[in-house]
């Protein structure tokens, strides 16, 4: 099993890995050991292949990893009992993203998506309204329980795309917001 040659020299394959909002440079060498932000770690990832339980041994400490990938370098897995999402770019893609403005460019726009399929029971906001953190935005019923979707940051309601009584799919955009300037 051989990985693509490293893009920008060195003795291993270089990646940029984002986990929990932090970004790290990682080099994977031919033996499968890793260097994370300059620190070398002995590593082995074994097991019966994707979509199964894998064993990661990092610096002698074993962990079960059960990973799923969505397309294009996005991984989601359980590690040490918590669920983690990670994005892995190769070094070239990371450079291109940085040059084009990258992740920062979309800041301020946000939308409330339905976190699960369900029935819209109530819309608690109006267009133009500024919601405060913790304010209820939409109430969606699922599993016979009403779920209040609340704001976690202040924002202005830009558009409301659903109405009470409407069935919504998971991921469907319910309300779009604009950023609120803070003094």
């Amino acid at each position: 099993m051989r990985a693509p040659r490293a893009v920008d020299g060195g003795t291993g394959s270089r990646y940029v890995v984002s986990v929990a909002g932090e970004t790290h440079d990682v080099v994977v060498d031919v033996d499968g050991n890793v260097v994370i932000d300059g620190s070398a770690h002995e590593a082995s990832l074994s097991g019966p292949g994707p979509a199964r339980m894998r064993t990661l041994i990092l610096d002698g400490k074993p962990r079960a990893v059960c990973a799923e990938t969505r397309s294009g370098g996005f991984w989601e897995f359980e590690i040490d009992g918590d669920r983690v999402g990670a994005e892995v770019l190769d070094a070239r893609a990371a450079r291109v993203r940085a040059l084009s403005g990258g992740a920062g460019s979309e800041r301020g726009a946000a939308s409330l998506k339905a976190p699960m399929p369900g029935l819209v029971v109530e819309i608690a906001v109006e267009t133009g309204e500024i919601v405060e953190p913790g304010a209820a935005v939409v109430i969606v019923e699922a599993m016979k329980m009403e779920n209040e979707l609340r704001a976690t940051a202040a924002a202005r309601v830009e558009r409301i795309l659903v109405a009470p009584g409407e069935a919504v799919e998971k991921g469907q955009i319910l309300v779009e917001f604009a950023e609120v300037e803070r003094k």
């Binding site: 099993m1 890995v17 990973a67 397309s71 040490d80 990670a86």
Partner: protein
């Protein structure tokens, strides 16, 4: 002993009942909806009958279809499990009218205890203390507001037909009572087909203590000691244990006797539970559940009694096989409910397909599950995937064992509440038994997502190695530049909506 039983339920409790029946040589008949064709409760039954589409109202809640399945398969008894039709007096009556044995109390008992306001009246008459509040359902939001101002805030609005936290709202300000009444009534109607709501004074930091009861119709009523279920969120129990760390032998006997008194007051037959709230040295009757409880395994662990076996024996006309003094109480048991919910996203229901399942084993560990690899977890039913139960000679050891067992549990493909449970079993107040139903709201730090440094580094290494391996296995794809990313809006550690864990239920 009855010859056969139809289990009118699904998931882990249907499998639990089938297990109990099989061990007694009782022929088992499962019913299932289109969504449950591959469920473990189906494959472990002797017969299985498709009774309708996924929607519970057209399958598990459809009395006619359940009785038709019993008729065609020649079942002589029906076990309702918990939830669905378990506390529907009309179902118990329909089963009896069809000439079948209902594994549970009489329709009259279910009716009396199912109407929470009547239950309060009857318990007060029997000398069992109840929480101050209304004696009958309320007519409107404004009436609710009036009563609330009489009883004194905070109050809790509750569905008269309720249970499990559905149709329940805690209100702390008078001007919120009317809106909360409407929401509770709406939820109650959706969940139970009955929108009646009543008001009680809300105890801020009570402990939830309940007593397991058994009656046999020969005048024998015994209790199998208490359980404590104070760790709740949104009025739903999350962790249960037996015995309670709160009670000494004297209090244990007192609350057990009060529960037996309550059961005698309604001529109780079969398995039942009397729930109490305990605060500041006082017990208040909360409600009586006329069925097997989700958390019955902790009682089974500390008494050695198989409660489903007792249910079948009593339903077959046998007497309870033990006297009160013979019922053991040994060691300590803890149960963690494993639900398909994202605890750090305000317990949002999660869906998915179970891709991998690792069940903990070894001494003192029990798993009661309703899922297998390949199970589709949807939104049609209760999110309870299974229950992890541990036993040890004392509470501290049982918790350490639970911590070990939770570390072995893997359910891949769907988010569960296990990450939260793993934090609770290490939290000092929980370890010390400083519990109340407000526990989760008083410990917001448990909901702070975030890996420790070692786990973070391991996650980074795992992601890099997984991606490295994937690229080696397939032609390297071009990475989308500036593509989808985790939304700022949902970033951070604050949950989408705050967990409301301050209930009684």
């Amino acid at each position: 002993m009855i010859e056969s039983v139809l289990v009118a339920n699904r998931g882990e409790i249907a499998l639990r009942v089938i297990r109990g029946a099989r061990e007694l040589g009782i022929r088992t008949i499962a019913v299932f909806s289109d969504a449950d064709r591959d469920s473990p409760h189906v494959v472990h039954a002797d017969k299985a009958v498709l009774i309708g589409p996924a929607a519970a109202s057209r399958s598990y809640l459809d009395i006619d279809k359940v009785l038709e399945a019993a008729r065609t398969t020649g079942a002589v008894a029906v076990h309702p499990g918990y939830g669905f039709l378990a506390e529907r007096a009309d179902f118990a009556r329909a089963v009896a009218d069809a000439g079948l044995v209902f594994v549970g109390p009489t329709a009259e008992t279910i009716r009396a205890m199912g109407d929470k306001t009547e239950a309060r009246r009857r318990m007060a008459d029997a000398g069992v203390p109840v929480v101050p509040g209304t004696a009958s359902p309320l007519g409107s939001g404004s009436e609710a507001r009036e009563v609330a101002s009489e009883v004194g805030l905070p109050v809790v609005l509750k569905a008269a037909a309720g249970g499990g936290g559905k149709g329940m709202r805690v209100v702390r300000r008078l001007d919120e009572v009317a809106a909360a009444f409407d929401a509770a009534a709406r939820e109650a109607r959706a969940a139970f087909g009955d929108g009646s709501v009543y008001v009680e004074r809300f105890l801020e930091r009570p402990r939830h203590i309940e007593v397991q009861l058994f009656g046999d119709g020969f005048g024998n009523v015994v209790h199998l000691h208490e359980r404590e279920c104070s760790i709740q969120r949104r009025h739903q129990k999350l962790i249960e244990e037996a015995p309670s760390s709160l009670l000494g032998p004297e209090e244990r006997r007192a609350v057990g006797e009060a529960a037996v008194r309550a059961a005698r007051a309604v001529d109780y037959i079969g398995a039942g539970t009397v729930e109490f709230l305990y605060q500041d040295g006082e017990f208040f009757f909360l409600e009586m559940n006329t069925r097997l409880q989700v958390e019955h395994p902790v009682t089974e662990f500390v008494t050695g009694v198989d409660l489903v076996e007792w249910q079948f024996r009593v339903a077959s006309g046998e007497a309870i096989p033990m006297r009160q003094s013979e019922i053991p109480l040994r060691g300590h048991a803890i149960e963690c409910r494993i639900t398909s919910e994202s605890p750090f996203d305000g317990f949002l229901p999660a869906t998915g397909t179970v891709r991998h399942l690792a069940i903990p084993g070894g001494p003192g560990v029990r798993w009661d599950g309703g899922i297998g690899v390949g199970s589709e977890i949807g939104l049609h039913y209760d999110p309870l995937l299974g229950k992890l139960i541990t036993w040890a000679p004392d509470r501290e050891s049982a918790i350490r064992r639970m911590k070990r067992a939770l570390g072995e549990l893997t359910i891949a493909g769907v988010s569960t509440c296990a990450p939260l449970l793993r934090r609770i079993v290490e939290e000092p107040d929980f370890l010390a038994g400083r519990l109340s139903t407000a526990y989760l709201t008083e410990h917001p730090e448990l909901f702070d997502a975030g890996l420790d440094d070692a786990s973070h580094t391991a996650a980074v290494a795992a992601a890099a190695l997984l991606e490295h391996e994937r690229r080696a296995a397939v032609p390297a794809p071009r990475m989308p530049h500036g593509a989808v990313r985790f939304s700022d809006w949902r970033a951070g550690t604050a949950p989408w909506f705050a967990p409301v864990a301050d209930g009684n239920g």
